[in-house]
Point group: C2
Chain length 158, copies 2
Amino acid sequence: MHPAQATALRDLLHTQRLAALGTLHQGEPFVSMAPFAILPGGGGFVIHVSRLATHTKDMMLSPAVSLLVVAPSPPGSSPQATARVTIQGQAQPYPDSTPGHAEAKAAYLSRFPQTADLFSFADFSLFVIRPTSVRFVGGFAQATTLDPAALAEILSNG
Amino acid sequence: MHPAQATALRDLLHTQRLAALGTLHQGEPFVSMAPFAILPGGGGFVIHVSRLATHTKDMMLSPAVSLLVVAPSPPGSSPQATARVTIQGQAQPYPDSTPGHAEAKAAYLSRFPQTADLFSFADFSLFVIRPTSVRFVGGFAQATTLDPAALAEILSNG
């Protein structure tokens, strides 16, 4: 990957806090908002969700998910010039007993200190999404496919 | 729907230009960016896509899609306070010969005048997404489900 593209991808995922999470719902795609943080080492993403929410029930039944993160698009700019990344991955519940739970929780709370109270809600829990494939579009006709190891290296540098 | 919620939903869809589009890809959800416009009358959304793109091939095989539109989330704000709407819908190709094509194209170009050149690209074409169900979350624990007729009325007022 071109160094400028790698920097743009890293900046996108370190700067934007909200992803669009696609889950499989009754055989159809369902997209909802998911605040996300990056696991130490860049090997995955952590989300904090309610078991009452549609996307959580979906992930329990079908762990294949898709995350989209989009850069801000100023009014008047060309929409196709907007940087964005789609991450296909596998979601897994990450309860307190999971090795790495503390690091995942710390990563999430570092990004979202406002959500600390939610960790005392019985229905909220962490899920980790491990990428299987990554498609970064840096702008019009600037698409790159990369594998999870390349993404982890990009995210853990700098 | 409470008038303040209706206003917030209308503002969200009239202000934000980019949706996250969920399609079914080889049996799994796939989320990509889609600039969108609102059809006159509020009965649907129009997108302009390349037939070379994954989401377009997906929609041709499986028209059930999901659109997520999210309000800006200022740094430091609570992510759960972010307004967002998920629209489940059916996508259909909208070639030049479709009744209503001219209105859909005009709505899209009114929002995205920068994309006029793309209408001369042979691989780009319009799709219309007709809502089947709508879930608006105005903030933490402020979720409302509404039907397509209610959404159309909200979008066409004011």
